[in-house]
């Protein structure tokens, strides 16, 4: 395996070819915020929160799906980037119906954390208040699309880890929504094994355990990473 060298925030780093900028940045301890990324799942670059500046390239690049290349000079935390990231988070809040005060994931939500880390004190865009459906047809779990940011973590966790592929994104633009099966009530989807991996993957309170109320959400994110690694390394105990 060949090794490439690049510079991230002024630090020189050598890393295996094929690594992403996000992985390289983590090696040097540069904290790039992410939302759709989850270790153990394939990266998709859906949320754009991890955008970075690369000298000589006029546009911002998502670190999670950009391969590190020889000689790159990367900046991960400029004022410009922080502005873009805060804008992205504001747009998430304006686009959906995110009411932290009455959300199951309050205090344990990656969207809320992203708002804090990007310094969002208020949303400068007008709230859209879309009409979105809630699905509580599954006996154990619920889906509140008001809180969904379309990161597709659940889609990937169900497909790549569980192999059930219950979830998909249907429609486009502002009409895009998470669907179960063939756009049917979650509880009627035979493919669902009720494993709960989508619950552990969800960054917000969109997919939750029924019976949990405000700020009671708990997740086991490490389980997903463990499952992905277990297959690669053939180690089956945790």
């Amino acid at each position: 395996m060949s090794v490439i060298t690049l510079t991230i925030d002024g630090q020189a780093i050598a890393i295996e070819e094929g690594a992403t900028l996000l992985e390289a940045a983590q090696e040097v301890g540069a904290a790039i915020p992410t939302l759709c990324h989850l270790k153990g799942l394939s990266p998709v670059g859906a949320c754009r929160l991890c955008v970075v500046e690369v000298e000589g390239i006029p546009k911002l690049l998502p670190a999670c799906v950009t391969a590190a290349a020889e000689g790159m000079v990367v900046h991960t935390n400029t004022d410009n980037l922080q502005d873009y990231r805060r804008t992205i988070v504001e747009l998430f809040f304006a686009e959906g119906n995110h009411v932290c005060a009455v959300c199951v994931a309050n205090n344990n939500c990656e969207l809320q954390d992203a708002a804090i880390s990007t310094g969002m004190t208020h949303v400068t865009y007008p709230y859209q208040y879309p009409q979105r459906e809630v699905d509580v047809s599954h006996p154990q779990f619920g889906l509140d699309r008001n809180r969904c940011i379309l990161c597709t973590r659940c889609v990937r966790a169900c497909d790549e880890l569980e192999g059930a592929h219950v979830w998909d994104i249907a429609y486009r633009g502002e009409h895009a929504k998470l669907i179960a099966g063939l756009d049917q009530p979650w509880g009627t989807v035979d493919a669902c094994t009720s494993c709960g991996k989508c619950v552990d993957a969800c960054p917000t309170g969109a997919i939750f355990r029924r019976g949990a109320t405000v700020a009671e959400m708990e997740r086991d994110r490490a389980k997903l990473e463990f499952l992905a690694q277990a297959r690669e390394e053939q180690q089956w105990t945790r």
Partner: protein, 187 residues
């Protein structure tokens, strides 16, 4: 600043909210004596009997979203008479729970839902008392969508330590630093 007492003229107002932010303000407990040392409270639902919002206010904490015509009228008056207007709590900052009715569209379907469809009583009618019950706005709005806002203090409610950290600098003519989980976490 009051010309005679040299104190900051501080006000708090309560728009479309649950008063939880004002309860949290009272949770400042003994630190309220510090507030009294440096500020005159010139208008407040919890700390003053004055009924009309006065002129020349230095700092005003605005709790609640803009949900009805009375809220709107008071807010416009507050803005025109206040130097530093702070959105105080999640309802003021984001419109929060009061704005969940916006998903039903305008005010009319909300009133119909509450007073007709879900009513147990026999006298089914919509509230209509001109001059007494203020009509709802079609959309509940966060304060900054109506007037300019100088400071945002999120939280449902903002904790007493957060309120103290936000207003202590204001009492001494400084601007608070609003960043980090302790200061800007919503909910």
């Amino acid at each position: 600043m009051d010309a005679v007492t040299q104190k900051v003229r501080l006000a708090t107002v309560w728009l479309g909210g649950c008063s939880g932010c004002h309860m949290s303000f009272l949770d400042l407990d003994e630190w309220l004596f510090e507030v009294a040392k440096f500020a005159d409270i010139v208008f407040s639902p919890v700390a003053s009997d004055i009924k009309d919002y006065p002129e020349n206010v230095d700092v005003c904490l605005v709790e609640g979203a803009v949900a009805n015509e009375e809220n709107l009228e008071l807010l416009l008056k507050v803005r025109s008479r206040t130097r530093i207007l702070a959105s105080f709590g999640d309802c003021a900052v984001t419109a929060n729970v009061p704005a969940m009715r916006n998903m039903l569209g305008t005010a009319e379907p909300v009133l119909r839902r509450c007073y007709l469809e879900l009513s147990d009583g026999v006298s089914h009618k919509l509230p209509d008392e001109p001059g007494i019950v203020p009509p709802l706005l079609d959309r509940v709005l966060p304060v900054h969508e109506v007037v300019s806002v100088d400071l945002f203090i999120p939280g449902c409610p903002p904790s007493a330590p957060r309120i103290q950290a936000a207003i202590e600098p204001l009492l001494h003519g400084n601007t608070p630093l609003m960043e980090g989980r302790e200061m800007i976490k919503f909910g």
